[in-house]
């Protein structure tokens, strides 16, 4: 439990700095530090049991069917990394407090930092490889935010994007690799997989799994040829660089190699791939670092080189190499973090981190210089500093390595890399701090405040103490961690400065002396570098990325070109192709179900329908006519529903038809009345061909379905409608009871559509839209906008329509009718008033806002469902009772009726909001007075109808 808590603490704690931001920078930093400290203490509370040989674990299933569980465990390796991540995290928090300027939001920075920290801790504590992947991806995302923290700088954004692309695509490979690994191991728990190394290695899928997982690890740890993203990530603020590139992000790949070492290392493929990859990275990184003038770039490539060193050690696949690797991870974290922070201090105080503009800082910033000297000495591998120890161990291991029969490759190249590494370390320290004091620093350099150099001092102290007393200080940690890596007992070894005259000592001496020589001959080496100038992985990356962009753009221009007809055509063609393919792959032909013999009325209706459809094709450019023809089709559809036992549908269809026609008429009033002829005969022909093919397909499908028998699931509904739902109209009972949740969702969708319409038209009377309206005004105006006959008729009909709607609503549960239909009828009655008497007249008399109607409808329907929850039934369970009222007699009252009321209100609101909004736009053109007459309803303030001053 505490383990999971240790992982989650930084995640939840990430909110703390956001909240504490306004309390001032010091409090914000302290609060953030407290979060990290809590997590660190939670981890360390397990340290005694880990060091006594136990492995604390905690697990809850998450998605057991997929093998995903929320499980954590803490062995020596996990403890080592978690301590490193959280311990150095504390120092970074302190350092960042002084490093970031007051213009940067410290709260947001700490928020990102803690999120990242949580993800890192998650990686190292996960016991489940799927969970590990989740955290792995989280580090990619959060490091993207951290690297791009100064998002106003283009190089920041570019660096962040590049890091995300490279580590993200590596992450995809890792997912695939982990899935294969889990599949062949038969478990996704790391502790289980480590036990089944033999079985995993013998699987034919072992090599793909290994390659994919290595791809993930190599991209994350910037191994050649994926090393190029890391230096570009240096555009981040220095605390981020120090954190990501010394202790965390890039070490995640190393961690993964260490974690799975017992499974992979015994395989030959591991040695033959990983060891040379690390060696090459070590060499190339060092070589590039030597010639960087930017201090941070130098350190970045040096990091690449040291990551290569560690990777190579893991790749050598011997237990002693693993010990050396663990030890070097610890040493590198201390000296590299200190160096990054020193570089940041120089940048901060001197105003530049370009080596060519620096030099002579020793007297101006003595504390920083001393600390940087210590850390550089360690990086160079000078005795009595911790870097020397692990580097010597590395050389010792390399000296014994025979690669494909060649004895000299590893010792020679590893020594060469160590030599160059010594040279760039000298360059970093000497060119920055020694030499004459210059007069042209951008700022006047001085030592930073105590809080800024304190973290560097702590790390430098560690560098010295470990360097002097390795066995006493780092010994137990390295031993416990390395034995967790190899998964068993370690051979005998000694962490000591003096091992006698070993080959490694000789190689170390060569590296240190040769490094000094190389530094002295820097000018000649620089000439040599130009020979290799053409080799740049970034240009390959850039070319790849711009190629992808060009391809994507060409694809978009070809397919997504903004032409709706083309989209529709492509979509329809695809559907058609799928349909045709399915048609020929399955038995087809008419079914055997007895057909109903055709009758005269049906044939007549068919002929009318066919005439309407064909007429539409020829006269669709006359928009009013096309609307009339379409309504005719709707009318026939209603008759069809009526004929085939669906009175509810017939009622709904005909009322929706009316509403839709009104809606389209209103819109048509504003848009052009005719469609121009734009397409060639060939275009029309191909459209016609596509349309015919689609129509033929749908028709055949319909015929195929209708002539076959089927199994219905409706028997339950028919049987239970009366006893269970308390209604005899099964369609209505399904709507408001059996599938009430569906209907509930539907009225919400309708409400959203109506509110979108409102949003689209509410501000249509301003700006460009208003100017268009002004130009078409003359056309929209009618000579006689409000004919007397129509005005009187609609007002007389209004109360009658309301009575009909009430009747339809009340009987809905038992006879055809219900909330939908009743709502449509009321809406039609209301909209008729708008049409006959104009928007202003009607709007002035509207007591109920349509939006309130929609809201009330959804709320009432929802509350009906909630009430059943109160009684302990599932949501939207309905009940009914029989009520006896004097005069009316006994009748049935179902709770579903209140749900139907909600549906009713929502439908009225939706229709009114849509139509009234369009009418409101048109009301601009209303100038005629509404005829006054006996049917007029006087307004409260004594005015009479017809005054159009409301809206105009």
């Amino acid at each position: 439990m505490l383990l999971a808590l240790a992982t989650l603490t930084p995640f939840f704690g990430a909110l703390v700095p956001l909240l504490a931001d306004r309390l001032g920078r010091n409090l914000c930093a302290i609060a953030t530090g407290a979060v990290t400290l809590t997590a660190l203490l939670l981890v360390l509370s397990h340290a005694p049991s880990v060091y006594s040989g136990e492995v604390p674990a905690w697990s809850v299933p998450w998605l057991p069917a997929l093998g995903l569980s929320f499980s954590f465990f803490l062995d020596g390796l996990g403890l080592f990394f978690a301590g490193l991540i959280l311990g150095i995290g504390l120092l970074i928090i302190l350092y960042a407090r002084y490093y970031l300027s007051s213009k940067d939001s410290l709260g947001v920075f700490y928020f990102y930092l803690l999120m990242f920290q949580g993800a890192m801790v998650g990686i190292v504590l996960s016991d489940n490889i799927l969970l590990l992947i989740v955290f792995w991806e989280l580090t990619s995302l959060t490091s993207f935010l951290l690297i791009g923290f100064w998002n106003h700088l283009p190089e920041s954004r570019q660096g962040a994007r590049m890091a995300l692309v490279v580590t993200g695509s590596g992450g995809l490979a890792l997912i695939a690799g982990m899935l294969i690994l889990g599949h062949i191991a038969g478990s996704y728990e790391i502790t289980e997989i480590l036990q089944r190394g033999e079985a995993v290695r013998s699987s034919p899928l072992f090599l793909p799994a290994l390659l994919l997982i290595l791809l993930g690890a190599f991209t994350k740890s910037a191994q050649f040829p994926f090393h190029f993203w890391l230096p570009h990530a240096m555009a981040a603020p220095t605390p981020v660089s120090a954190y990501l590139h010394s202790a965390t992000m890039v070490k995640a790949g190393l961690f993964l190699m260490a974690r799975l070492w017992p499974v992979f290392a015994p395989a030959d493929a591991w040695f033959y791939i990983v060891a040379p990859a690390g060696l090459i990275t070590m060499l190339i990184g060092a070589w590039i670092a030597l010639f960087r003038d930017d201090l941070k770039a130098l350190l970045a490539f040096s990091t690449v080189s040291h990551l290569g060193l560690t990777t190579m050690l893991f790749g050598l696949a011997t237990p002693l190499a693993a010990v050396a690797a663990v030890f070097h991870i610890l040493n590198h974290a201390t000296f590299k973090c200190a160096l990054f922070m020193s570089a940041g201090i120089v940048d901060h105080e001197a105003g530049t981190r370009d080596i060519r503009r620096l030099g002579g800082l020793l007297t101006l910033m003595p504390i920083t210089a001393t600390l940087a000297f210590i850390a550089s000495a360690s990086m160079a591998g000078i005795p009595f500093f911790n870097g020397f120890l692990s580097k010597e161990m590395m050389l010792e291991e390399a000296a014994h390595t025979v690669y494909a029969g060649h004895e000299w490759i590893f010792p020679a190249l590893a020594t060469l890399a160590a030599l160059i590494s010594a040279a760039y370390s000298y360059r970093f320290a000497i060119s920055t701090f020694l030499g004459p004091v210059r007069g042209d620093y951008p700022h006047k350099p001085h030592d930073p405040p105590f809080g800024m150099w304190l973290p560097v001092a702590i790390l430098a102290a560690l560098v010295v103490v470990i360097g002097l007393f390795p066995a006493l200080t780092a010994g137990p940690i390295v031993e416990r961690t390395a034995s967790a890596v190899v998964g068993g007992a370690l051979p005998e070894y000694h962490l000591a400065i003096w091992h006698g005259f070993t080959p490694a000592l000789v190689l170390s001496a060569i590296a240190l002396a040769g490094g000094a020589l190389l530094f002295i001959c820097y000018g000649y080496a620089d000439q040599l570098r130009l020979v290799f100038a053409g080799m740049d992985a970034k240009s390959v990356y850039d070319a790849g990325i711009s190629g992808i962009v060009r391809g994507a753009r060409a694809f978009i221009v070809a397919t997504h070109n903004g032409s709706f007809p083309r989209y529709a055509g492509v979509t329809l063609l695809t559907i058609l192709a799928v349909g045709v393919a399915a048609f020929f792959q399955a038995p087809h032909g008419a079914g055997t179900r007895p057909v109903i013999p055709g009758a005269f009325p049906a044939s007549a209706a068919w002929i009318v329908l066919a005439t309407l459809c064909i007429s539409l094709l020829f006269w669709h450019q006359n928009r009013l006519l096309s609307l009339v023809l379409t309504s005719g089709v709707g009318l026939i559809a209603s008759l069809f529903f009526l004929q085939f036992s669906a009175p509810d549908l017939a009622l709904t269809q005909i009322s929706v038809d009316i509403v839709t026609t009104i809606l389209l008429l209103l819109a048509l009033n504003l848009v052009p009345q005719n469609s121009p002829t734009e397409t060639s005969t060939g275009g029309r022909f191909s459209r016609g061909l596509l349309a015919s093919a689609v129509g033929l397909g749908v028709g055949l499908l319909a015929y195929g379905i209708m002539t076959r028998d089927f199994q219905t699931i409706s028997d339950y509904y028919l049987a239970e409608a009366k006893p269970g739902g308390g209604g005899t109209n099964v369609v209505n009972v399904i709507l408001v009871d059996f599938r009430g949740f569906d209907t509930f969702g539907e009225i919400i969708v309708l409400g959203i559509a109506a509110i979108t319409i409102f949003a689209l038209l509410d501000n249509a009377l301003r700006g460009a839209a208003a100017r268009t309206l002004a130009t078409i005004r003359d056309r929209v105006e009618s000579k006689n906008a409000h004919p007397m006959m129509l005005v009187i008729a609609t007002r007389v009909l209004f109360p009658l329509a309301l009575v009909v709607a009430t009747f339809i609503f009340l009987r809905g549960h038992n006879e055809p009718g219900g909330g939908f239909i009743a709502g449509l009828i009321v809406a039609i009655a209301l909209i008729m008033q708008y049409i006959a008497s104009g928007y202003s007249w009607a709007a002035e008399r509207t007591r109920l806002d349509s939006q309130i109607l929609i809201g009330a409808g959804v709320l009432i329907a929802g509350l009906t469902g909630v009430v059943s929850l109160i009684f302990g039934w599932p949501f939207l369970t309905s009940t009914y009772t029989h009520v006896h009222l004097p005069l009316l007699g006994e009748f049935e009252l179902a709770s579903a009726m209140s749900f139907d009321l909600g549906v009713f209100l929502a439908v009225v609101g939706v229709v009114m909001l849509s139509l009234a909004q369009i009418s409101r736009v048109e009301a601009r053109a209303e100038t005629d007075a509404v005829p006054e007459g006996p049917m007029d309803v006087p307004l409260k303030d004594g005015r009479v109808a017809g005054s159009n001053d409301g809206e105009n």
């Binding site: 450019q621 036992s645 549908l649 809606l663 409706s714």
Partner: protein, 117 residues
């Protein structure tokens, strides 16, 4: 009778698709309305054609399948919502640009893509 209904569905669909492939917004909306009719009739007919047996519980011995009816009823209402939304989108688009074409000129498309960067 089934043949009549199936061919009617096919006719409506064909006419609807033809209208949807036009270049102006209004025919497209009319086409969508027509397509809604076709689809609703199609869905309904998946419950097979049965005359004079409405699913209202009475003394009758058999009823037609009520489920497609319930689904189509909601479909009719939803298609109204959809049509209304599209009409208003088209209307606002016309008011903003003074043209009701459903085609975006290629140079505008390229300009939009440049803006995205």
């Amino acid at each position: 009778m089934e043949l009549l209904v199936a061919s009617a569905i096919g006719l409506m669909t064909a006419a609807a698709v033809y209208l949807i492939l036009q270049q102006r917004t209004f025919p497209i909306v009319v086409g969508l309305t027509l397509l809604s009719y076709a689809v609703n009739v199609f869905l309904f007919s998946s419950g097979r054609l049965i005359a004079n047996k409405p699913p209202v519980i009475s003394d009758a011995d058999a009823y037609t399948d009520p489920l497609p009816q319930a689904l189509v009823l909601t479909a009719i209402v939803i298609s109204f919502g959809m049509t209304a939304l599209i009409v208003v989108l088209a209307l606002r688009g016309f008011l903003e640009t003074a043209t009701d074409t459903a085609d975006l000129p290629e140079d505008e498309l390229l300009r939009d893509m440049e803006d995205d960067r």
